[in-house]
Amino acid sequence: MNVSKDLIAASATPLILAILKEKDNYGYAIIKRVREMSENELVWTEGMLYPVLHRLEEQRLIESYWDTAETGRKRKYYRILKQGRQELQQQKRQWEMIHAALTKSWNEER
């Protein structure tokens, strides 16, 4: 499905935070996870993920560290911080509120 750019941008933060809440992860795996969770519907321009991650890091919602994978390759992992968890809670409430409002409006249409 083609999702509008604005919507992708707006949903990126909560999606990333939610994925990192499961466990620490690196960029490529985060993208795979997004695809998995949206059943291949949500496809990101992969390069765009990293500026977003770096911005979240700057806002102290997440932090990063380098680690070596089993394959011997270095990977940059991201970990969610306390502030990030709070932000995720807040986003969750906002999205639920919007979702509820939209659902209601669509039910009334019928």
């Binding site: 321009t45 992969e46 770096h54 700057e58 270095k74 940059k76």
Partner: protein
């Protein structure tokens, strides 16, 4: 044949050229790309297909670079002193810094050693000694720094050591008689010769190759600029120290003269070498920018000079000082041309600066031809001295270099040869400089009876 490693490297170089990525960003993106390629390969694609799809999925480079620029706007300024991320590079970086400090201290102490044996700066005859030997105190350490960094084989260590030791021996065994012209000439030419030897250690194994030599030319330009800046800082710190101690009536002048200046110079040399080595891929080179700014200005000045010379019918002056001025002009022009060339992409078509370069060389050749004809005539009338011969020789060597460049430029504009020919000519010509510099430093004293 598709080579994945080469492709990945040229892809990351392409990103790097955009300038908005930190090295950490690049290795993160590269790691992503490799994960992607591996996954695609397991699902049955060839390496080439996997690479193409992986790059495509990462998205439009301009757009990504733009996004990174927003996040990185201020980090990009701090680059040079960021510790490398991976532990191995970090360890190497620490070792290099350790070497810088150690070598600066060693070089400084080495300069002070003659003083302990009664050959301090004030001792009679000391000035000649230091004129001859100054380069031998610092340059060997720079050479050693590069050889350690490059992991040079024992054979290279021996060869370089032999050159330095041989130079030191020869130059100090030679006697020196009034008016010491050949000694001063040696003192002037030896550092330049040894700098080229340092160049061999900088380039390493492939010191005969064109690209390695071009890199050393780039390195030299940057090192000069950084050296001047660092040294300015050293002087400011020195002046400041003297001043605040004056305020409490403690005279540190003597200490500053004996220690600070010496160690300051050695430290400047070593830290400059380290910085330029570290910054290579990080910060845009400055020497080419300077060259581009001053090429048109020099061209205008020299053209006006040429016109005035012809119109007024004044022959360029015939004294040695003026010959040296023309040597300086040629060296200057060569420097400008060289640094414009050094930042040029080999495959890009001829641009404005190529034409400016040729014009600059042409004007310089005309001026020099006029000067030279007058001087050769005078030389035969007034007799030969080592200084005149050195100045004349310099002039001819530089003239040959520039004439060759002009000829190749013309060929290049007529599409008779590729641009790489110019670089090859220029870098090969450095053999000529090495020979000439060594000749003046080591053979001139013999020829002119050490006078």
């Amino acid at each position: 044949m598709f080579d994945l490693e080469t492709q990945i490297r040229s892809w990351s170089d392409h990103l790097r050229a955009h300038g908005n990525f930190t090295e950490a960003d690049l290795s993160e993106l590269e790691s992503h790309l490799r994960d992607q390629i591996e996954d695609l390969e397991t699902s049955g694609l060839s390496a080439e297909e996997a690479f193409l799809i992986g790059v495509k999925r990462l998205g439009n480079v301009d757009a990504i670079s733009h996004e990174f620029a927003k996040v990185n706007s201020e980090n990009l300024w701090k680059h040079l002193f960021v510790e490398p991320v991976d532990p191995q590079a970090r360890q190497q970086n620490r070792r290099d810094l350790g070497l810088v400090v150690l070598f600066a201290l060693l070089a400084g102490t080495l300069i002070k050693v003659p003083g302990w044996f009664g050959l301090g700066f004030d001792a009679p005859g000391a000035d000649l000694f230091y004129v001859k030997n100054l380069s031998l105190f610092i340059l060997p350490f720079i050479a050693a720094f590069f050889m350690i960094r490059r992991g040079a084989p024992a054979r290279a260590w021996l060869a370089i050591l032999a050159i330095f030791a041989g130079s030191a021996l020869l130059i100090n065994v030679y006697p020196s008689f009034e008016p010491h012209n050949t000694t001063y000439l040696s003192g002037l030419h030896l550092p330049l010769f040894l700098w080229l030897v340092v160049g061999v250690t900088y380039i390493g194994q492939e010191w005969r190759r064109c690209q390695g030599r071009m890199n050393f030319i780039r390195f030299s330009g940057e090192a000069f600029i950084y050296g001047v800046l660092v040294f300015a800082g050293v002087m400011v710190l020195g002046g400041f120290t003297t001043m605040i101690f004056q305020a409490i009536h403690v005279d540190v002048g003597r200490f500053m003269e004996d220690n600070y200046i010496i160690y300051g110079v050695c430290f400047t040399a070593m830290i400059t070498v380290y910085l330029v080595e570290a910054k290579r891929s990080v910060v845009e080179n400055f020497a080419p920018i300077l060259a581009r700014i001053f090429t048109p200005l020099f061209l205008v000045t020299m053209t006006v000079f040429l016109v005035v010379m012809v119109v007024t019918g004044q022959s360029p002056f015939l004294e040695r000082e003026f010959l040296i001025a023309f040597d300086f002009m040629l060296a200057m022009v060569l420097g400008l041309v060289l640094y414009v060339i050094s930042s040029r992409d080999l495959n890009q078509p001829a641009n404005l600066f190529d034409y400016l370069n040729l014009a600059l060389i042409a004007v310089a050749l005309l001026i020099d031809a006029a000067a030279l004809s007058a001087i050769v005539f005078r030389l035969s009338a007034f007799g030969i001295t080592p200084n005149k011969m050195a100045a004349l020789g310099e002039n001819l060597v530089l003239l040959g270099n520039l004439a060759g460049l002009a000829w190749l430029y013309v060929q290049y504009f007529r599409k008779k040869c590729a641009f790489i020919k110019l670089e090859q000519w220029q870098t090969a010509y450095f053999n000529g400089y090495a020979v000439w510099l060594a000749f003046v430093a080591f053979v001139f004293p013999l020829l002119f009876g050490f006078k």
